[in-house]
Amino acid sequence: MSYLLTATCAVPAAGAVLTAALPAGSSQGRRRTTKGIALAVSAATLALTAAVAAGFEPGGARYQLTESHSWIRSFGINFSLGVDGISAVLALLTAVLVPIVMLASWHDADPIRNPDGTFENVRRTQGFFALVLAVEAMVLVSFLATDIFVFYVFFEAMLIPMYFLIGGFGDRAGGPDSGAQRSYAAVKFLLYNLLGGLVMLAAVIGLYVIAQNQGQATFDLPTLTGAIADGKLVIDPTAEKVLFLGFFFAFAVKAPLWPLHTWLPNAMGEATAGTAVLITAVVDKVGTFAMLRFCLGLFPGASRTFGPYILVLSLIGIVYGALLAIGQKDIKRLVAYASISHFGFIIMGIFAFTSQGQTGATLYMVNHGISTAAWMLVAGFLISRRGSRLISDFGGVQKVAPVLAGTFLIGGLATLSLPGMAPFVSEFLVLVGTFSKYPVIGIAATFGIVLAALYALLLYQRTMTGPVKAGIEGMADLKVRELLVVAPLVALTLFLGVYPKPLTDLVNPAVDATLSQVHQTDPAPAHPVAATTGGEHK
């Protein structure tokens, strides 16, 4: 048994504890040590995750590098980890984004200097970076867990560090009531997700009891899905539907699917840009990931039954999110609504039940993570410079800070899925995958790409172009640290747009396995022809 996966999750967890325990102080040196250690831990995690992805053989078993440690025997719970292609790419996404988020949030958690020169809350720095590492550890466990209970525990537990990240660290750009707004956002985030999680808890228990009654007292995902597929575990259709809805509700809240999305704009709007990225690019992905892994594998029948309805909801989400994004006055809320639209695409890809759709959805999770991170973090740099989140406070930034404006545009273009950039690949796959089974929904979703262009470019136009507005003059362009944040994201966006094969190779087998779990196949073309010309010069 290899301990690589445990190590991957344990390193950030240990790092979180270590970071939290570091001595506090207002001195810059102390802060720098804290940040350096946290960054080093996240880099180590990235290395481990890369080792996991490198060690994964696409042609091999469904779950690889598996390990299982007895945890709570009484309920048949093992701390089981395993990686498949989908979780590998998502773990990689997490590990890549966390150091970047840290770097981007470098000064966001410095202690607040009082007017009299003293510092308030000197543990802020330690707290922030420890919480980020804690989130990373929990997200990684969620992605890698092959035990439903373990997944559930960390799926829920990650709410707490997230909650403190949202509520405790604002972006200092809010109005006078920003504190109240922030705690409102944090509470809303927590309660919404907790409610989802508790409903799921009931479903988890229900599933366990059903399995127990049929001699399968386990939470082990491969065992359960195998038993369901072999007919050894029979869930009554009504119960299956209820359980599916229980699971799905939690994931739909987290994802977030319309109409359960209303926590996201508040959370992303009030949190720091780094935290907002963690929410939308990392934590929310656990929701969509879990739909793919748990809902489909455990409840194939119910998934098929509810699939079309979920498609409709996701379609509404796509259009609704985009329209709302167009109507926003606040940059970060705009990004949040754009994310809601994107999550619609992801969920649509999952429930279209085609390999294009699901591969697209998985890639979409990665690509949305990267591109939204780029967009949001640059927005964060912008906001911290101006001290305002209102779009109307900006204008003409490209004149004074061209690099900032340029990277912001790239982020926006990635968000609108410009071909050549990573999100295009996934968005097109999702659309094509949906279209081949549900043409009407596929066509309707395509409207989303027009609306995406509208919100992304309107935002760029309003903030960056035109004459330089008051308060913008003398705005500094991106600093080296900030460039270090943006450059890898932009590079990844472009690279994965042109050459997504490394990811698709990882993802394809896992998607095949998932599709066969729900007994779905791709529709055959009406008049099949050779897929490619493929020819060299004759």
Partner: protein, 638 residues
């Protein structure tokens, strides 16, 4: 030679990357670097062309597969190129005209501090456009398709500090996106129909039947209409034409390259490339010709009313592309003519735009033709090259436009029946109107009295002067092309034969003799010129435009296209958005908050039970005991 094909794209792409990432160090050398990249690409294109000439007709098409782009089960998207007779025409046009315009821009943008970026964008455009015409499948074409859209967006909005430029850029992108939607749905439809979206398997090649031949007409019509939607967006055809006029906010070389010679003709390329589909979908073809015919008149009418020289030319572009689309819609009989007109139009329209740019350059960026006049004396080279382009576009016998347009009109009549007559007459009318508005431009700009206005801020009058040689040389080259290209192509039907392996060939059955058509066209042209001379040549032109007829006023407002879009799309759209924002905060969020408030309210009410009186607690216990006993008893009796 195959390996040269990727280099065609790579050269400008590398140039773009270098220029955009290179930083200030390249500010000075940037323009030349960019031009070099374009020229390099042209050289590759030329080499490939010469190589292609050396092979027989069937072996001319080259394929080069680079790598598997998106490999997903049942879905194979490759980065793979196809260079055939049609592509090479485009490659040469794009790189050739592109290089010239790069060169022109070196002079034109010499004083712009952000010129390095400008050349970066231009190179990016070249790369994307080449990708568009070299792709061997629709998805890769789509990448180029949107890539040119991006370059167009960046270049229209190049002067971002001008709100009008930023707005125009965004508008262009978004209108194009509507068209792109058509293309992407078309690709999806192809995928579900054929399991592929590569040209070869679907369209067939050189005698081998493709998947299109097996598919039902309904599906093909749908694909055709969707492709037409895409073409409408990119080529500024009705109803997605509204962005082109505004796109003139970009620097003039951009208008020349992207919004006249190359990018806007991508729609024609798409339709021609997909000929195999359209040939089997007559309804789609009818739609194409209808769009073409409407647009050619629409653009021409708009062109008549504009006082902004670039906007007048933009109307003209729209109209000329209408001709091409019309020709492409006619099927095999028209494809070659569409492409031929596209190439000749590339020459003369680029030349005209460069001329306009030269005029603006001399007139301190004045664009209002009513403030021009008598410039022929001050800018002789510009006058001559512009004049040659003018003659070419109106179809003056012997010049390029004469040959290409004439063929299209002929083919339109050859469609036969009522349809043929309507199309033919539209095309003829268009020719007359073209002559009218181009003569108007010519007269207002170069003839008559000088009507220069002092700068409202500095009070200085412009001092028109000839442009530097980096600008005039490209104009001269393009003028030569405008004069001779048409004749060269028609000679021995060389162009037709060249393209035949790709487009196929068909003989039309025109109700009119070719000579009759030529005569009619010439007469129409002369009538247009004459009318324009009567209106603008004989009497001095007022500096402020007269009110004009309702049609003129509508034409000035682009035939109310923006008003229409505003009323039908923008206003309801923003209303919808605003109401959704309200709904989200008050409805959905309100529900959530309301739920919390309700629980709080219940809690507040329920709290009052806790009165603090021990006896009331005892009462609740007593009641509870009674209830407990009663229900236990009741449970038993039930």
């Amino acid at each position: 030679m195959n390996s040269l094909i990727p280099l065609l794209v790579a050269a400008p792409l590398a140039g773009a990357a270098l220029l955009l990432l290179g930083g200030r160090r390249l500010d000075r050398s940037g323009p030349w670097l960019g031009t070099l990249a374009a020229a390099l690409s042209f050289a590759f294109g030329l080499a490939l062309f010469l190589d292609m000439l050396g092979r027989s007709g069937e072996e001319r098409a080259l394929h080069q597969r680079l790598f598997s782009w998106i490999p997903v089960n049942g879905f194979q998207a490759d980065v793979s190129f196809q260079l055939d007779q049609l592509s090479i025409v485009f490659v040469l046009l794009i790189t050739g005209v592109g290089t010239l315009i790069h060169l022109y821009s070196v002079g034109y943008m010499a004083h712009d501090e952000r010129r390095r970026r400008f050349f970066g964008y231009l190179n990016l455009f070249l790369a994307a456009m080449l990708l568009l015409v070299l792709a061997d499948n629709y998805l890769l074409l789509y990448v180029g398709w949107e890539g040119v859209g991006l370059a167009s967006y960046l270049l229209i909005g190049f002067w971002q500090h001008k709100p009008s430029a930023a707005t125009a850029a965004k508008k262009a992108f978004i209108v194009n996106r509507v068209g792109d939607m058509g293309l992407s749905i078309a690709i999806m439809l192809m995928f579900t129909e054929f399991g592929s979206f590569a040209f070869g398997p679907i369209l067939g090649s050189e005698g081998t039947a493709g998947g299109a031949q097996q598919a039902g007409e309904g599906k093909l019509t749908a694909i055709g209409l969707l492709l037409l939607l895409a073409a409408c967006g990119k080529s500024a055809q009705v109803p997605l034409q509204s962005w082109l006029g505004d796109a003139m906010e970009g620097p003039t070389p951009v208008s020349a390259l992207i919004h006249a010679a190359t990018m806007v003709t991508a729609g024609v390329y798409l339709i021609t490339r997909s000929g195999a589909i359209f040939n089997l979908a007559p309804d789609a073809q009818t739609a194409v010709v209808a769009v073409g015919a409407v647009t050619l008149l629409f653009g021409a009418i708009v062109g008549c009313a504009k006082d902004d020289i670039k906007k007048a030319l933009a109307g003209s572009t729209m109209s000329q592309i209408g001709y091409m689309v019309l020709a492409a819609g006619l099927g095999p009989i028209g494809y070659a003519f569409a492409i031929m007109h596209l190439v000749t139009h590339g020459f003369f329209k680029a030349g005209l735009f460069l001329g306009a740019g030269s005029v603006m350059h001399g007139m301190d960026d004045e664009v209002n033709m009513r403030h021009y006049g008598a410039l022929r004396k001050y800018m002789p080279v510009t006058f001559v090259t512009f004049g040659l382009g003018y003659l070419a576009i109106i179809g003056f016998p012997g010049l390029s436009g004469f040959f290409s347009k004439d063929k299209i009109i002929e083919a339109a009549f050859a469609r036969g029946g009522t349809e043929g007559w309507i199309l033919g007459l539209c095309a003829l009318t268009g020719a007359a109107v073209t002559a009218f508005y181009m003569t108007r431009v010519m007269l207002l700009t170069f003839f008559g009295e000088k009507r220069w206005q002092p700068d409202p801020e500095t009070g200085e009058e412009p001092h028109p002067h000839e442009s530097p040689s980096t600008m005039t040389v490209p104009m001269i080259v393009l003028a030569i092309g405008s004069v001779f290209a048409g004749g060269l192509f028609t000679l021995n039907s060389s162009f037709l034969k060249w393209l035949e392996p790709v487009t196929g060939h068909a003989e039309g059955n025109s109700p009119l003799q070719p000579l009759t058509v030529t005569l009619l066209t010439t007469v129409c042209m002369l009538a247009g010129v004459g009318l324009a001379y009567l209106m603008y040549g004989r009497s001095p032109v007022p500096v402020t435009p007269p009110v004009g007829s309702p049609l003129t006023r509508a034409a000035r407002r682009d035939l109310l296209q923006d008003d229409f879009n505003h009323a039908v799309l923008v206003r309801p759209g923003s209303g919808l958005t605003a109401s959704l924002v309200y709904l989200d905060s008050k409805g959905l969020d309100g529900f959530v908050n309301g739920l919390a408030a309700t629980i709080g309210g219940i809690s507040g009410r329920l709290r009052r039970i806790q009165t603090g009186f021990a006896r009331s607690y005892a009462l609740s216990m007593f009641g509870g005991a009674l209830l407990l006993a009663a229900t236990t008893l009741l449970m038993r009796s039930v």
